[in-house]
Symmetry: C2
Subunit: 426 residues, 2 copies
């Protein structure tokens, strides 16, 4: 077959600062998915894009082309509007767990296609799999039925959505080309647009535990994604939120489920509640259902009811005991004072090393492993009090986890105030 474009010419075009025509972008994505563009050619192009970027029209076309390589879900048959949330990933970020049932309880269907954890950030599916019997894999029909009956579904994204992205992401992961805002934005948005949600709220994290370390980069990524979503007809809004310190008091699969259930029961850490309610409010507004007050619905117990239905619908037992780690070890405060910092990245790495995360996609995770915090920045602490409890089934992992935490916290006279929500881009 004669190809309409020459791959090397296109790589050089981007390398030298040029712009692709629509037909060129379409061909690049289609030919790469088909295998007519070799992996080493696409990695060189991805690196050229890292340096040169993609213009807004190029990016929009690139995203559409990736969507075009796969199927698109269609929720238009549902009796209620749909809204989805996507977080760029952080440490202790269990927000999806209380959020999906909360929004469902407010009358908006939440089709939450989620992934697994890799490296120091956890994955929503890994967390829910700590619940005995719960299964991540649903057919499109099961998903639709559950959205109609329960209103919320958290399940594995099938390989049918934007397969070009799966191939490209795996390549970027091994070629040092992940950290490109247009490539990140198109990767996320191709899947979210293909998923067929009517409204989308993005939680763009910034700080040591997040992908974006600088607020300006996070804002740029947020703006880029909001533009892509809006252009594709999805009502999209983004919150830029803090990930300098972990969300809540837990990082680890079963530990985070337990904390999420606490929030649904009306308790839980203030930051988790604040962010859950804020994101729910955005989702309801974007879905045109801001007649509900999520804080009130949370307090009423109706979100908990939706949670229980959602877990049961996917085979889980919401009343089953969550797994408990075989071993724990406690890190105590070395001095009196106020906890000034608690580094999200260090906590994420510690939880990962304890067994909560994986280094490679095919690795198993421990349901009970993780890190439990007993104080957050701003809290007063006393010398000798428990600061962090480490959980694992494999105690030989404690040493490396403690290494990760060696410089993770500071104790001083007072802590700077850090808002949970830094910015809103709509």
């Amino acid at each position: 077959m004669t190809e309409p474009f020459d791959t090397v010419d296109l790589i050089r075009t981007k390398r030298d600062g040029g712009t692709f025509a629509d037909a060129e972008v379409d061909w690049l994505i289609e030919a790469y998915t088909r295998g007519a563009i070799a992996e080493e050619q696409m990695s060189a192009l991805a690196m050229a894009i890292f340096f040169r970027g993609l213009s807004a029209p190029e990016l929009s076309r690139w995203t559409a082309a990736m969507i075009g390589t796969g199927e698109r879900l269609d929720f238009s048959s549902l009796s209620r509007p749909t809204a989805d949330k996507h977080s760029t990933g952080g440490v202790g970020d269990k927000i999806t767990l209380p959020l999906a049932p909360l929004v469902a309880a407010c009358g908006v269907a939440v089709p939450q296609l989620s992934g697994r954890g890799l490296g120091h950030t956890g994955g929503t599916l890994d967390k829910l799999e700590a619940i005995p019997g719960w299964r991540a894999k649903l057919s499109n029909e099961e998903m639709l039925r559950q959205l109609e009956d329960v209103g919320a579904v958290i399940c594995a994204a099938g390989s049918g959505l934007a397969p070009a992205d799966a191939k490209l992401y795996a390549l970027r992961d091994v070629t040092g080309t992940v950290e490109s805002i247009p490539l990140i934005a198109s990767s996320i948005m191709s899947k979210k647009i293909a998923e067929g949600t009517g409204a989308l709220v993005l939680d763009v994290k910034v700080g040591s535990g997040a992908f974006m370390k600088q607020p300006d980069d996070a804002r740029t990524l947020a703006r880029t994604m909001v533009e892509l979503g809006t252009a594709a007809g999805v009502r999209t809004v983004a919150l830029v939120t803090d990930m300098a310190t972990p969300l809540g008091l837990t990082a680890g699969n079963g530990l985070e489920v337990a904390e999420s259930v606490e929030v649904l029961a009306g308790g839980g850490p203030a930051d988790v509640i604040e962010l859950t309610v804020a994101l729910a409010r955005e989702m309801l507004t974007a879905a045109g259902r801001d007649d509900h007050d999520p804080a009130e619905v949370l307090a009423s117990g109706r979100a908990m009811d939706a949670w229980r239905s959602m877990i049961i619908a996917q085979g889980g037992d919401p009343d089953a005991d969550l797994p408990v780690a075989k071993e724990t070890e406690v890190i105590t405060a070395p001095s009196d004072g106020v906890l000034t910092t608690l580094d999200a990245y260090a906590v994420g790495v510690a939880a990962w090393r304890l067994g909560a995360g994986r280094a490679r996609k095919e690795d198993p995770v421990q349901a009970a492993a993780g890190v439990q915090l007993h104080a957050k920045p701003g809290d007063p602490v006393r010398a000798g009090q428990p600061l962090i409890t480490l959980h694992t089934d494999t105690p030989e992992r404690f040493d490396r986890a403690k290494e990760a935490l060696a410089d993770a916290f500071g104790i001083g006279a007072e802590a700077a105030e850090r808002p949970v929500i830094i910015d809103r881009i709509g």
Copy 2:
């Protein structure tokens, strides 16, 4: 086997403007050659190097590491000093053919390991293969013996020299990462240093028919290569020479052999003579034998004697008729005036299309195909006089060759003077 470095970390280091330690460079080249670094990783790194460059110490180490992946030739047993020439490639660049025997006739051994043509530039081996019986492939022992007996050898570079470069060059060729000065310089110099010559003269071409289009880029490449050679103990000097117009009056394998023999016989085009003598002078000086005047040796016929011996030693018949193309077509001057320009790139493409060159390494070439010029910039022309003769065995190629030449020349009132030798970097 546990690797001492992480490939993705190293790609990101270069991508973000960092510098590699010696051990990192050594490992990158060694692991890539061994296959522990994937092609898609090396192409991303090559693109990062395109944007970020390599520092002088990095480049020197990179070159040494590439040399270290293969064998090094050793000419120290020869009774005379060695000098080699390398041209970055141009159109009608047959200089090696008269130059090697000329320098040999002056008492300096010339071990000229050469390549084949690709795209619009010809290859020295392709040219010599137009001579009936001549063979490009010699063993290291045959090469040494011929250097001692004849003083000059032009033969195929074995795959034993810097095999990392062969692998990396093939990758760069398909990933749009050829045009990087440090990668070009290390590619050329790794082979030339491994070849074991004591002195090296570089002919860095600049102009439409060359790789470098701008004199400043050519100077930078020349300087980079001279530094690498000097640091490796090879007496190295570079001439930056014009490639806006073809060298001599021929581009094509057999046609260029005939023109080279003319030069050795005391005739031939002025620019070919000038550059041959200038490069010979540099080689003799670099080899410490500037007691010979190459212009005098050329006039004396001793260079022709060395040529004949060199061709015979490699199985060729210097008295055999060169192949003649089955068909020719003539392009005539459209008006009276002075030929102002004759574009090297266009002539190179035309010769290639006529069958003198190849699109892929495995393609055959026609020995008799090519372009013959009847005037050079600065020459007066009359309307209707022959300007260019096209030669090919496959006349269906004429049309595409003429297309390439459509805008290749200009006729005007007077032509700007263009020196053959633009700069010298020593």
